[in-house]
């Protein structure tokens, strides 16, 4: 019996995999509820691809005016292409600028409040809804909190997997390009889901559902632990609203899915062409550090999965042994020996269960933690890439400015006063853009530093919590084991 294993996660769910079959052409609607929150220039960049090479204004009205009715583009895990210059035949995507001061505020608030972070989210009660290939699993999401930003202390809603993916994609498109590490959503799995849909009620599909439930829970907890995301209206809506518009663009083969794949290719090209002059050694060090960490985590993940496998094998072998010991006991003529052998068989059966439970602990604690971190590190790499892109944009703006200056200089000698004026105007414009570019770059660098600091702290907390839980499970198993042996000893001694 092989455990259902997902392939090691090399990146996020932006691979070309099929998601759950979803019908309907619901639009990917982005929420902005200015009434309940301080006015923020939060844009939802998830609008159609634009051919216009202009930056967004800070005017929210403009944003909506530009919304198209096409199935949206979202680039949740893939960074939007920011480069303004000569990019290959890919339509550039807007890079909305988020007003950074408001987010600084949020972070500072968290630091001030210290340990008043009080929110607990649980995902439970998986229920199959519907039949056949259109079926899906709905989960209950319960939020218990004393934070004022929520309308009640205890909230409960029902969500399906694509809702989680939708939430993640909104958050990613909003925050990633500013350097925030957005916790990645759990992986899609065609095989797992198909089994569930088809109604296969075996242990591997139950395991799959449990694995997913646990992953969704961890995902939400990580998301709300981030002080900025906690206040995001998408998150609040996700946790509070009884109805949530369906997120279809998470499908792999939707228009959005195809665009994702195309962007991924464009990204790869861009990465090769951007060569950044790193002025800050700190970033270089960090990047290297995270490369190493990533490799280590992957290796450990594989080792732990192997451990889980062996433990399950031990459990099976123990069960087998218990059965034959029972048969031996039944055939044994000597009464006391027969009794002892039967007790032995019972004891071994109990041990089989212990081994199995321990295997689950190995898995859900360690293997999943390592898997989560491998995915998180991909998000971390993502923000480094974003910084690089921001730098690149700044550089491009400087280049442009230079060109405009050169053009103006030439025009000085020609006798075209209006063209000259235009050139001077353009120079002003580009000077502004250069300044903005520099500010953006500084901002993102600052944000990343803060984010990495948070990440390191969280990492320590997470791992410490897991090792403690794991040890607790080990201690408990041992205590149980001791009880079994102590109970068996008199039986063995009673053989005369």
């Amino acid at each position: 019996m092989a455990a259902e294993r997902d392939p090691p996660p090399p990146g996020d769910a932006g691979q070309a995999r099929f998601g759950e079959a979803e019908d309907g052409e619901d639009l990917f609607v982005v929420l902005c509820s200015p009434a309940s929150l301080p006015a923020e220039d939060i844009s939802a960049n998830s609008n159609g691809p634009k051919l216009v090479d202009s930056f967004l204004d800070d005017d929210p009205d403009d944003l909506f005016a530009e919304a198209t009715e096409e199935v949206s583009l979202d680039s949740p895990e893939r960074e939007p292409i920011l480069s303004d210059g000569p990019s290959p035949a890919i339509t550039p995507i807007m890079a909305p600028r988020i007003d950074s001061t408001l987010f600084d505020q949020a972070l500072e608030e968290e630091e001030d409040n210290g340990d008043t972070f009080d929110i607990c989210i649980s995902v439970s009660d998986p229920e199959k809804v519907g039949d056949g290939m259109n079926a899906y699993m709905a989960y209950k999401v319960t939020t218990k909190t004393s934070l004022s930003v929520f309308s009640q202390n205890e909230l409960s809603v029902r969500r399906r997997f694509s809702d989680f993916l939708g939430l993640h994609s909104k958050l990613a498109s909003k925050y990633m390009h500013s350097g925030y590490i957005v916790p990645p959503a759990p992986e899609k799995s065609i095989v797992g889901m198909t089994k569930v849909k088809v109604g296969k009620e075996d242990s591997s599909s139950t395991e799959f559902v449990e694995k997913r439930r646990s992953a969704l829970e961890r995902y939400l907890m990580r998301t709300v632990k981030h002080p900025v995301m906690l206040k995001d209206p998408n998150v609040l809506q996700f946790l509070e609203s009884s109805e949530l518009p369906r997120a279809v663009s998470t499908q792999a083969l939707s228009g959005a899915g195809i665009l994702r794949m195309v962007n991924k290719a464009a990204d790869a090209v861009n990465k090769m062409t951007i060569k950044m002059n790193e002025s800050d050694a700190w970033f270089e060090e960090k990047q290297q550090q995270f490369e190493n960490l990533d490799a280590q985590f992957r290796k450990l993940h594989a080792s732990v999965e192997s451990l889980v496998c062996h433990r399950k094998e031990l459990s099976l072998n123990t069960a087998s042994f218990a059965k034959s010991a029972a048969m031996l006991g039944n055939s044994e003529d000597h009464t006391a020996l027969s009794r002892a052998l039967s007790q032995l068989a019972e004891m071994e059966e109990k041990m089989e269960q212990l081994h199995m439970d321990q295997a689950y602990a190995d898995f859900y604690l360690f293997a999943e933690l390592l898997g989560d971190y491998v995915r998180l590190l991909t998000a971390v790499k993502g923000v480094f890439d974003q910084r690089m892109k921001t730098w690149s944009k700044w550089q491009d703006a400087q280049l442009m400015l230079q060109r405009k200056r050169e053009a103006e200089a030439k025009l000085q000698y020609a006798n075209k006063p209006d063209k000259l004026q235009q050139a001077k105007d353009e120079i002003k414009e580009w000077e502004g853009k250069v300044q903005q570019g520099e500010r953006d770059f500084e901002q993102i660098s600052k944000t990343i530093r803060k984010e990495l600091g948070r990440f390191e702290k969280e990492r320590v907390k997470d791992f410490k919590s897991v090792i403690i839980k794991y040890l607790e499970s080990l201690v408990q198993t041992q205590q149980q084991l001791i009880k079994y042996w102590e109970a068996f000893l008199p039986e063995a001694k009673a053989i005369a």
Binding site: L300, H310, K323, S324, S331, L337, R459, F463, A492, I495
Partner: protein, 378 residues
């Protein structure tokens, strides 16, 4: 055959000058391709120690010498089973063939389990009321010269029951209910014990694999911490602790497997082989019965002139059969007593050792837990 030697170490007038419980097979050393076993024992009279070195061939010689074809009664004896030969590969590693052949006896450090099995064999021979009187045992234990150099007699241990035509005799109906019962039970129990032993072996092998996997995990984490330039010191501390936890997990599996091998594993293995030995004896008797019944028929059908001779033959066979059966009856009784005692000892020591290990490991886990709770978060 009780290892704790509850009865006198020797039988009256056994002729064996060695104390049975003092026989120890201490260790095995590899001399080129051959395993050499060091055997020590003590003289009954003055407690003086004797030490000899023997090879497997010497043991085989003993086994062959115990059986005397011209003593028909001896056919009724359940001969203590000698383990199969242990072939060591050059790197002292156990290959699959050896594992299949010897099972538990192939496991354990430096042939420990195998040596114990040989020791048990010698003790069983020494404690047997009849076999202990055979000079061959004394020779093996005390002679300076290795007796195996003598040509071993080819005895009855040629696994008759495996020869196809003889297999038919195995199911030949018995004239005696006691023996028919015994044969049926033995057949059933032998099969069940064999399966149980094999499955227990699978458990132990899985434990050994877990031990290796845990060690591997522990080492890789350790290695990583040593290499990484501890940018996050708190994290490194957690990793080191984790490495130690997996080290303890490895120890748990290692010790559990060892305990399994040396107590219940060995016990089940011996049980299995002893049951095969009883099967052999019962089969010998059945064959003699078939012979006797054939002789009876021949006598009845014989013409007057031949009748006398036939009767003589039949009478001899009958005497042999009766002598054998009466010996067999005693042996069966003794066998059942011994095997229950053996299994009891195995089960009790198995339980005690595992309980010790479990307690030790529980303490270690609790220590780790305390230490982890104190880990800094910055």
């Amino acid at each position: 055959m009780n290892r704790s030697g509850k009865t006198a170490d020797t039988m009256e007038g056994s002729g064996l000058t060695i104390s049975a419980s003092s026989i120890k097979v201490n260790e095995a050393t590899l001399d080129e391709d051959t395993l050499v076993f060091s055997i020590t024992s003590q003289k009954l009279s003055n407690g003086m120690g004797v030490c000899v070195c023997r090879t497997y061939e010497d043991f085989e010689w003993l086994q062959q010498s115990l059986f005397a074809p011209d003593e028909p009664d001896l056919h009724g004896v359940i001969f203590p089973p000698l383990p199969a030969k242990l072939i060591m590969s050059p790197q002292s590693q156990i290959n699959n063939k050896t594992l299949k052949q010897l099972g538990f006896l192939a496991l354990g450090d430096c042939c420990r389990t195998y040596c114990e099995a040989l020791e048990l064999y010698l003790q069983q021979v020494a404690l047997h009321p009849i076999l202990s009187k055979n000079k061959a045992l004394e020779t093996l234990l005390t002679n300076t010269e290795s007796p195996g150099k003598q040509r071993a007699k080819k005895g009855i241990f040629n696994r008759l029951s495996q020869v196809m035509e003889e297999k038919r005799k195995e199911s030949h109906k018995d004239v005696d209910d006691f023996f028919q019962n015994e044969r049926d039970n033995n057949s059933n129990m032998t099969a069940l014990t064999k399966v149980t032993t094999e499955r227990f072996l699978d458990v132990v092998l899985a434990e050994q694999r877990l031990s290796v996997a845990s060690k591997h995990l522990s080492s890789s984490i350790q290695l990583w911490v040593n290499q990484e330039d501890s940018a996050n010191a708190a994290f490194s501390k957690i990793c080191l602790k984790t490495s130690k936890v997996f080290e303890t997990i490895k120890r748990n599996f290692e010790k559990t497997a060892e305990n399994n091998i040396s107590t219940l594993g060995l016990g089940l293995d011996l049980q299995s082989r002893y049951q095969e030995a009883e099967k052999e004896m019962l089969f010998r008797r059945t064959c003699k019965l078939v012979e006797l019944e054939a002789a009876n028929k021949n006598t009845e059908r014989a013409k007057a002139n031949k009748k006398g001779i036939m009767e003589e033959v039949r009478n001899v066979l009958e005497k042999q059969f009766d002598g054998m059966s009466s010996m067999a009856r005693q042996e069966v009784g003794r066998f059942h007593q011994s095997r229950v005692a053996l299994l009891r000892t195995a089960l009790v020591s198995w339980c005690e050792q595992q309980l010790n290990t479990a307690t030790e490991i529980a303490a270690l886990y609790s220590e780790h837990l305390e230490a982890c709770q104190k880990l800094p978060e910055e």
